[in-house]
């Protein structure tokens, strides 16, 4: 049997150097944050020896910044840090709720936002909420940094756009104005400790008359990646988020879904319920803007 190695540099330059070194030597290296997916995958069969690069000690990945027009959430901020941050919760209630849905309380102390995104599960809970909030991935590499919209970051089941030698530092989210809010809902057969059978994240902006002027709708667990559904957003824009518009958005989401039948649910079930969750999430987001009780 070969052996495993573990590196936990405390600065970005060193981390990039380790990546570069492995790249040049053709050695397998895997970036490791909370480990709540990686360790499970390791145990479930992919036991090939490799180096784990722990990026939790890098300052940039551990930062939350709310200065300026954007919010920045470091890639290794864990779910519990997210939902305990009241300012973030105020700004992105849907995103923060999605982080609160992952695993158990214990898991939420280890599982990170960046890890959930990089793992790129079609059912990843925070991913649809990040799509809905137009998040930008901040990526560092040897030859400098780059930015990538989150919907371009996820490229397939378990696949992302990071090139060898690159690290996801964090996510930049445009700060919502007072008339914008979001919501994320998922369906599981139980109440917790489960994986989304269907998920929907919605961000909505209303004008002073309560008319929807902007919307983003993202759906998950109904295709190989989380999907943006512009047709659903269009159905909401221009409406007062009334039942007709909500139904149209629901239908758009159902139509956009490309689900499969598996042990977690049937194709027909997912197609229908993704519409239901789109409608419910849109309504919650709109009510949040209006300051109405949910």
């Amino acid at each position: 049997m070969g052996s495993f190695a573990y590196a936990a540099p405390d600065n970005l330059a060193d981390a990039l150097a380790v990546l570069e070194q492995h790249k040049n030597a053709g050695q397998r290296i895997q970036i490791f944050a909370g480990g709540t997916d990686v360790l499970v995958q390791l145990k479930a069969g992919d036991s090939e020896p490799r180096t784990f690069l722990d990026v939790k000690n890098i300052r940039e990945t551990q930062t939350i910044s709310l200065k300026g027009d954007s919010a920045f959430i470091g890639a290794t901020i864990v779910c519990a840090q997210l939902y305990e941050n009241l300012a973030l919760k105020e700004m992105f209630p849907g995103l923060i709720e999605s982080a609160d849905l992952i695993g158990s309380t214990q898991i939420q102390g280890k599982a990170t936002l960046g890890g959930n995104l990089c793992n790129a599960s079609p059912a990843g809970d925070t991913i649809a909420a990040l799509y809905a909030n137009k998040a930008i991935c901040m990526i560092a590499g040897k030859s400098g940094s780059r930015e990538l919209p989150v919907e371009d970051f996820v490229t397939g089941v378990g696949r992302n756009a990071l090139k060898p030698g690159e690290i996801l530092l964090g996510l930049k989210l445009p700060k919502p104005n007072a008339n914008t809010s979001d919501a994320y809902l998922r369906f599981i057969p139980r109440t917790e400790m489960d994986i989304a059978v269907v998920g929907a994240g919605v961000s909505i902006t209303l004008d002073d008359e309560g008319v929807c002027v902007d919307a983003t709708v993202a759906i998950s667990a109904v295709a190989v990646t989380t999907l943006l559904v512009p047709e659903a957003a269009q159905a909401l824009i221009g409406s007062s988020v009334d039942e007709v518009a909500l139904q149209a958005a629901a239908q758009a989401s159902s139509a956009a879904a490309r689900p499969i039948s598996d042990k977690r649910g049937t194709k027909e079930f997912r197609r229908k319920v993704v519409g239901v969750l789109t409608r419910r999430a849109a309504l919650i987001a709109a009510n949040r803007v209006k300051g109405e009780a949910e």
Partner: protein, 752 residues
């Protein structure tokens, strides 16, 4: 009902003696046993659901450094057919073939070889070097497929038992059984109303949290010691001896603490393999299943298909009940079709019934007992149809059951006349219960169902030793699953008249306890409890003799009250009462230590009846069912430790709710289970359940000194139908197949 008795200790709720070690993690479970020089055994499992083994080659793996032993079916002795008895039933020949496949694999995950290596990782890696050649056969995965005329046959030597004349061709139907009374056709002619339907339930697992684990060590003289997690170490000894052709007395089995069993740990899987690997390697061998193996290769509960027909007069009186039921046995014959068939109509007085049952083999793991084996599936069908009958009659469903409920003196469907039972009392409690009448909101529903289980007695032994300071040791042979140490201590304390805190209970191994049947069949508090009481009475009798000798009285002039010997009323003796402590302190002068014992084959296990009320809310857009209220009412005879009786009621309800709503083995077309883990095999998590309200009815079982009847199994019988009836109430549509998963519920709502 017997008159009320004032107990001093029985009926109180002391902390369980094993509690501290269990909550601090100090308790030793199956995987916690370790020995110097220990190596690790793992099993190679079949990648096919149904195949002939053409060849197994272990030569490569045996050459690998660090591998100490490798075995396949050929390395085990031939085992001849013979009934295993006990709760799980089954045949020793099948057991042997289940432990290690011979010639044929019958389910995905069936053991085909095993290796023992320096580390578990090395053993797992070494499995890849074992070459097995298979001829793949069609998997037979459902009752319909197995019973079809042209079905692939699992066992060419199996001819259906119980049909006349004897069949000419082999079949997957292992046996057919029939029970009847009266004239079924006449019964249906007398009915004003007839309802009928058919119901299906899936393969489900007990879901015990602790996987099967054992450590075996055999010496050069051929004497083996086995540490394992089991519900019955004497059964492990018997099965291991049979499978390995060893003498019983050459195997000592030491039971660990047990992290759940529910019937599933009455069977052996790895233990004989570990002994054989230890014999070959000369080292202690540890084997621990992972969760995947537990799901794929231990014994789940039968999937079932039941057609039921019920006839009644317009006042609700039942005139006829009939059913056709088939249970999957898994890879080898021996489902719980017999108890299922015997209990399906038992709660009701009906002059005419007809029950036909089939035990059917399929390419799934061999089923094992699961709390009240056979009853949940059977009574799900009966109680769902009773609910429909009540709806048709526009009658309160509890009232319908009260009209027909069995009671003392009635001849049970399965034969004997009932002694005192508490079914009517449970129904009355349910009717009066606030949870039965509180208002429900739109989209919510309520359902009720009755449950029944026979309970068993069987063999138990116990000893009571009095320490030199008068404290009490109870030695017995039932692994403590549900708090039985506490119950034994309470019964010993009550009998002897000494405080609970002065009693210690030891679960002893096969060499230190008298023969005792498994912890199963809801028998321990009843049967082993009776042995403990008798052993304590033996002590009292000896203590009275010692007091009589001390006082120079005749033995029959001494009485025993509150833990003291006193002169009988009317006996003229100027003496102070002698406490058990005083008698123990003087025992060296009066004949030596006090040692009481008893052994018995307990008869008269009182049947258990229950009534459950389920309240649900169904999301009509997603099909998701939330259980918002659940009330479990059950006759316990006498609750020795009420908190643990309530725990049994709540645990059974939780498992029954899981069975009703989400649990099922999901297979692909090749017969490979798709959800062999707790992520996708969805037992309820704590937040899925409401507070489960309990009400203990106490109609004393006259066969037990304190009135005990078993309580461990009945609680899982009624929840399936109670939940299904509540969902029917909420959505207005009857779904006749479990689980009531969101997809299935949504489909039914949308299809209605």
């Amino acid at each position: 009902m017997s008159e009320a008795v004032n107990f001093k200790y029985i009926g109180t709720r002391p902390v369980r003696p094993d509690g501290v070690d269990k909550v601090t993690g100090r308790a030793n479970y199956g995987a916690d046993a370790n020995l110097p020089g220990m190596i690790h055994g793992v099993v190679l499992r079949s990648p096919h659901a149904h195949a002939i083994i053409k060849k197994i080659d272990l030569s490569q793996v045996r050459l690998l450094d660090g591998i100490y032993a490798a075995v396949s079916g050929n390395d085990f002795p031939e085992v001849s057919s013979g009934s295993m008895g006990g709760e799980g039933g089954g045949d020793y020949k099948d057991l042997a073939a289940n432990i290690m496949a011979r010639n044929k694999v019958l389910y995905h995950g069936h053991a085909v070889a095993a290796v023992a290596a320096r580390t578990r990782e090395l053993a797992v890696e070494a499995l890849a070097l074992i070459q097995v050649e298979y001829e793949i056969l069609d998997p037979v995965m459902t009752l319909d497929a197995a019973m079809a005329e042209d079905a692939a046959i699992l066992d060419e030597s199996m001819f259906t038992q119980g049909v006349d004349p004897k069949p000419k061709y082999p079949s997957n139907i292992a046996s057919r059984i029939e029970f009847k009374r009266g004239d079924i056709e006449q019964g249906f002619l007398e009915a004003d109303i007839i309802v009928e339907s058919e119901f299906r339930t899936p393969t489900v697992h007990q879901g015990y949290i602790e996987p099967h684990a054992c450590l075996a060590s055999i010496n050069e003289g051929g004497q083996a010691t086995l540490w394992c997690s089991t519900q019955g170490h004497f059964d492990v000894r018997a099965a291991s001896a049979k499978v390995l052709n060893m003498d019983l007395c050459d195997i000592k089995v030491i039971p660990s603490e047990i992290g759940g069993g529910f019937g599933g740990k009455t069977v052996v899987y790895q233990e004989p393999v570990a002994i054989l690997l230890s014999r070959i390697s000369g080292r202690p061998v540890k084997m621990v299943m992972d969760r995947d193996e537990v799901f794929r290769a231990s014994g789940p509960a039968s999937a079932s298909h039941t057609r039921v027909k019920i006839g009644a007069r317009s006042d609700g009186t039942l005139t006829a009940m009939s059913c056709w039921m088939a249970f999957e046995a898994g890879a080898f014959k021996g489902s719980a079709i017999m108890p299922g068939a015997m209990c399906i109509f038992t709660p009701y007085k009906v002059a005419n019934f007809y029950i036909e049952g089939f035990d059917v083999v399929v390419n799934k793991p061999k089923v094992a007992a699961y709390r009240a084996p056979g009853a949940p599936q059977a009574m799900y069908a009966c109680e769902s149809l009773m609910d429909e009958l009540a709806r048709k009659l526009e009658m309160d469903p509890l009232e319908l059951r009260l009209v027909n409920a069995v009671e003392e003196g009635v001849q049970a469907a399965y034969g004997p006349k009932f002694n005192a039972i508490g079914f009517r009392e449970c129904l009355e409690v349910a009717k009066q219960h606030p949870n039965y009448t509180r208002a429900l909101k739109e989209g919510q529903g309520r359902g009720v169902a009755a449950g029944f289980w026979f309970n068993v007695g069987m063999q138990s032994s116990a000893e009571v030793h009095i320490n030199e300071n008068g404290t009490v040791m109870v030695i017995e042979g039932n692994p403590d699953i549900g708090g039985s140490r506490a119950s034994m201590a309470l019964m010993a304390a009550e009998t002897l008249g000494v405080p609970y805190e002065k009693v210690r209970v030891v679960v002893a191994d096969t060499e230190n306890a008298g023969y005792t049947n498994v912890t199963g069949g809801s028998r321990v508090t009843f049967a082993t409890g009776m042995a403990v009481i008798q052993a304590a009475q033996d002590i009292i009798s000896q203590a009275k003799q010692r007091a009589a000798a001390t006082w120079e009285l005749d033995e029959d002039q001494v009485d025993w009250q509150n833990g003291h010997a006193i002169p009988m009323p009317g006996v003229n003796a100027d003496v102070e009462p002698l406490s058990l402590a005083r008698i123990a302190a003087n025992s060296g002068r009066t004949g030596g230590p006090l040692l009481g014992r008893a052994s018995l084959n307990a008869k008269g296990a009182g049947p258990g009846f229950s009534v459950n009320i389920a309240e649900v809310a169904v999301d009509r857009e997603t099909g998701k069912t939330d259980v918002i209220g659940f009330t479990a009412i059950q006759d316990a005879g006498k609750a020795i430790h009420p908190a643990y009786v309530e725990g049994q009621l709540q645990g059974g309800a939780a498992q029954g709710i899981g069975w009703a709503l989400n649990e099922e083995y999901i297979y692909d077309e090749k017969g490979v289970m798709q959800n062999a883990g707790f992520l996708d095999y969805r037992i309820p998590v704590a937040s899925d359940l409401p507070k489960i309200d309990t009400h203990i009815v106490e109609v004393a079982n006259t066969a037990h000194p304190y009135g005990v009847r078993g309580v461990g199994e009945t609680p899982i019988v009624a929840p399936l139908a109670a939940v299904a009836n509540a969902v029917r109430d909420a959505i207005g549509v009857r779904i006749t197949e479990l689980p009531l998963s969101p997809s299935r519920v949504l489909e039914s709502i949308d299809g209605a």
